[in-house]
């Protein structure tokens, strides 16, 4: 661990033992890849930026589908949670990178051993997946532009299920790149960022899981949180099946289906026909998938409604009316057109209710994690210093 201290002063040079030789050579290349072709999107700066000191506080939202980072130097970036290593030295030579992330990895997947390390909310059980998480965190810190001399205090938000199952794995993955570290559940960090800390329910719909968290003025415990796996990936699978049934001759894959979902997903009344171009025997054909899209997206609604109702019932009866007005929908799934309204209508059968979609779903988790990082007293960070 003698090298660790030195490495921590420059997280972007830090990499796993297996990749460090090449990563060291391509540290800047990695960064440019991320900016130019990894699908990372530059967003507006966080509203509250503290003066940069020798400590960089970062909030990382490590999601199944997308990961985002917000830092108190004003950087806010996101990347799709894909990590890929070239399959062989020829692929590495062609790609010019020892490791690719996000969109770049996805687009070059045929040349890569591609990993989406968090599936259904947990780190998949393999050394390589743990390594992928580790590289992803390093990449997120690269995107946050940590300076050489800075110390890094990080709050990492992960799906609730991952927090329960993979606490140590996440700690291991992050500890080499930061000086002090805390891990929180994503819905909690989103709630903290929004300052919705009492008498509220947070529904965080991601790709792998839908996480529910009840906020009652104190730190949510395991019993206050739930996770179901009928989330974005489930919709993809449903849509794939329904399209395959309707258009058995057509050629499409899960990646294409995921893109259709991201563009056209809706529940309830459609805005218009959903038509996509799909190859059939080498010819491009237009398919109407309006009904299939609706059925696939609506397949997740019963589980969300059921769990929300159960969580409302867990509150003291006196507060349930307030809670019903404080249901917050966040995560990528919150962007499904009409989802909040459908959930709201279903819950309104039992009384007035309001479901609100978070304004900035991509950065809600990382902004909340950053808010936690900023509010956390220095003493706590000192106590949680990563051992060297």
């Amino acid at each position: 661990m003698a090298m660790a201290k030195k490495k921590k002063t420059s997280p972007k040079r830090k990499t796993s033992s297996t990749a460090k030789s090449s990563a060291a050579k391509t540290g800047s290349a990695k960064k440019s890849t991320a900016k130019k072709s990894s699908g990372a999107a530059r967003a507006k700066p966080a509203t509250t930026i503290r003066p940069t000191t020798n400590i960089l506080r970062v909030g990382i939202d490590l999601g199944t589908s997308r990961s985002a980072v917000s830092a108190n130097n004003g950087k806010r970036e996101w990347v799709e949670s894909y990590v890929g290593w070239p399959k062989d030295f020829i692929a590495e030579k062609v790609l010019g990178e020892p490791i690719l992330f996000g969109r770049a990895a996805l687009e070059n997947r045929l040349s890569l051993d591609l990993y989406r390390p968090l599936e259904q909310g947990v780190i998949k059980e393999s050394t390589r997946n743990e390594e992928a998480v580790r590289e992803l965190i390093a990449h997120m810190l690269d995107l946050a532009e940590v300076r050489e001399s800075q110390r890094v205090y990080a709050v990492v938000g992960v799906p609730s299920e991952s927090l329960r199952a993979n606490k140590m794995a996440i700690k291991r993955a992050a500890q080499d790149f930061v000086h002090s570290l805390m891990v929180v559940s994503e819905p909690f960090s989103a709630a903290y960022g929004m300052q919705v800390l009492n008498n509220a329910i947070i529904i965080d719909m991601g790709a792998g899981t839908v996480d529910f968290c009840i906020m009652h003025g104190s730190m949510p415990k395991d019993d206050d949180q739930r996770t179901i796996v009928t989330a974005g990936d489930y919709i993809d699978q449903q849509l794939f099946n329904l399209m395959k049934e309707k258009y058995p001759e057509s050629d499409f894959n899960m990646n294409m289906v995921r893109q259709y979902k991201e563009r056209f997903s809706f529940v309830g009344k459609p805005k218009g026909k959903v038509e996509v171009e799909v190859p059939v025997g080498g010819r491009i054909m237009v398919h109407d998938i309006t009904d299939e899209m609706r059925r696939a997206c609506e397949s997740v609604v019963p589980g969300i409604v059921e769990n929300t109702m159960e969580l409302i019932a867990r509150f003291d009866p006196e507060y349930q009316a307030i809670v019903r007005e404080n249901i917050l929908l966040c995560g990528g799934g919150s962007q499904i057109h009409g989802l909040a309204k459908v959930i709201e209508e279903a819950l309104q059968e039992d009384g007035p209710c309001s479901v609100t979609v978070m304004e900035d779903p991509i950065f809600a988790g990382s902004d909340g994690a950053l808010a936690l990082a900023q509010d956390m007293p220095e003493k706590y960070w000192q106590d949680l210093m990563v051992e060297e």
Binding site: Q120, H216, D223, V229, Y234, D236, E306, E325, T356, Y380
Partner: protein
């Protein structure tokens, strides 16, 4: 700006930060996890100071609670039979929701044992309502206590209490027709598999002679949820079992789970008690709601018991053949098909079609029959728990059924 009720000042922000810090100390291995009983703060005590008690306190509390519950149970059974007899009469004459006034008049005798008042004490402490000075002709608070004991989701099943039996079992094969349900990687349709399992389950249950067993659909046809509900209600179903197969992304998971009608919210009962204590003039009207509530509670209890029996019979067997099977247990679910049916109802996800190995097995008629046998065992176990099965069967006869079910199991193996 979002329409949320935000807290401009969060009084417990520092506590939240401290809790997060302490949790992370545990993750970092710098502090041992505290016992859950010490860490937990109940949602209803938002503004109360945190009280740390020794775990033995909670153990002692549990013993006291168990003793009180036992005492209440003994007292209830030893009471005059006015309430249960008349409720039984009412239910036999036309269902639980029948003649409220008959129940009201007949149950006016006061109860002397204070143990029965325990539940009321709790409710009174919440509402702090004054006791009525003179209930006079209306039913007494003690009667209400009796009813409250009855509608409690805990304790002995109301169906057993009232000696209600099962005559008609409706089995609902999920999906069908234009709705194939889940489609497996190998192309299997959930609707086709559930239909065959349901048919085999019907054949197995019909062997017992005592039950009319009906299927909501006999062929690959589409039925809306409301049609399924109407079918069950029109045929006076006594229990309703909807058979489904799970589907999860990826092929690794195989969740076995059973949903039952629920959740049950006793808030209405508590409100009724408060109103009754404040002004007895509303008693009669509220009584009707109370009696209706008994119906809901009975359905809830029985649905839960049925779900429990089916899941207990199903999961261990599925697990034997598929090590990846995971028990997701029983849970209340607001499925339309469960809510709309008058009878105790469950929706069971017997296995997962997304699991390739399981899909291969499901192609085999023998495996479908095994699943039917597991469901049969669960249903029979549930029926055996009811003291008054059709024809006034005793527990002894229930054992015979169990033996028969076991014998059939062997035969099908």
């Amino acid at each position: 700006m979002l329409g949320l009720t935000r807290q401009a000042k969060v009084p417990r922000r520092n506590e939240i930060l401290k809790s997060l810090y302490e949790e992370n100390l545990v993750v970092a291995g710098k502090r041992k996890a505290q016992p859950a009983a010490v860490r937990r703060i109940h949602a209803s005590h938002n503004n109360s100071p945190r009280v740390r008690r020794h775990p033995s306190f909670y153990f002692l509390l549990m013993i006291i609670a168990a003793a009180v519950a036992y005492s209440a149970l003994i007292t209830f059974w030893s009471l005059p039979h006015r309430v249960d007899q008349n409720l039984s009469t009412a239910s036999a004459a036309g269902g639980i929701n029948g003649n409220a006034s008959k129940l009201h008049v007949a149950s006016a005798t006061p109860v002397s044992d204070p143990a029965v008042l325990t539940m009321d004490d709790v409710i009174d402490s919440v509402y702090a309502q004054p006791k009525p000075s003179s209930p006079s002709e209306n039913a007494t608070p003690e009667t209400i206590n009796q009813l409250k004991s009855l509608v409690s989701a805990e304790g002995p099943s109301l169906a057993r209490l009232f000696g209600l039996g099962v005559h008609t079992i409706v089995i609902d094969p999920g999906h069908g027709g234009k709705d194939p349900g889940a489609i497996g990687h190998l192309g299997s349709h959930e609707a086709e598999i559930t239909l065959e399992i349901a048919k085999r389950l019907r054949d197995r249950l019909q062997v017992y002679d005592n039950y009319t067993v009906l299927l909501t659909r006999e062929t690959d046809e589409f039925l809306s949820l409301s049609e399924r509900v109407a079918f069950a209600n029109d045929n006076h179903a006594d229990i309703f079992v909807s058979v489904h197969i799970n589907y999860y992304p990826g092929d690794q998971l195989n969740f076995v789970e059973t949903y039952y009608f629920g959740p049950n919210n006793d808030r209405k009962v508590a409100e009724l008690a408060a109103k009754e204590n404040a002004d007895s003039q509303y008693l009669y009207a509220e009584f009707k709601g109370m009696v209706e509530k008994i119906g809901d509670t009975m359905k809830f209890q029985e649905s839960r018991d049925l779900a429990d029996a089916v899941q207990e019979a199903l999961y261990p067997q599925i697990r034997k053949v598929n090590k990846k099977a995971r028990n997701h247990g029983i849970k209340p679910g607001p499925f339309v098909v469960l809510l709309g049916i008058d009878a105790p109802s469950i929706l069971t996800e017997v296995t997962s079609l997304s699991n390739k190995q399981e899909e291969k097995r499901l192609k085999s008629p023998a495996y479908r029959d095994k699943i039917a046998a597991f469901l049969e065992k669960g249903i029979v176990n549930y029926l055996n728990k009811t003291t008054n099965s059709p024809g006034g069967e005793s527990n002894g006869n229930g054992e015979e059924k169990e033996n028969l079910a076991q014998a059939k199991d062997k035969q099908y193996r």
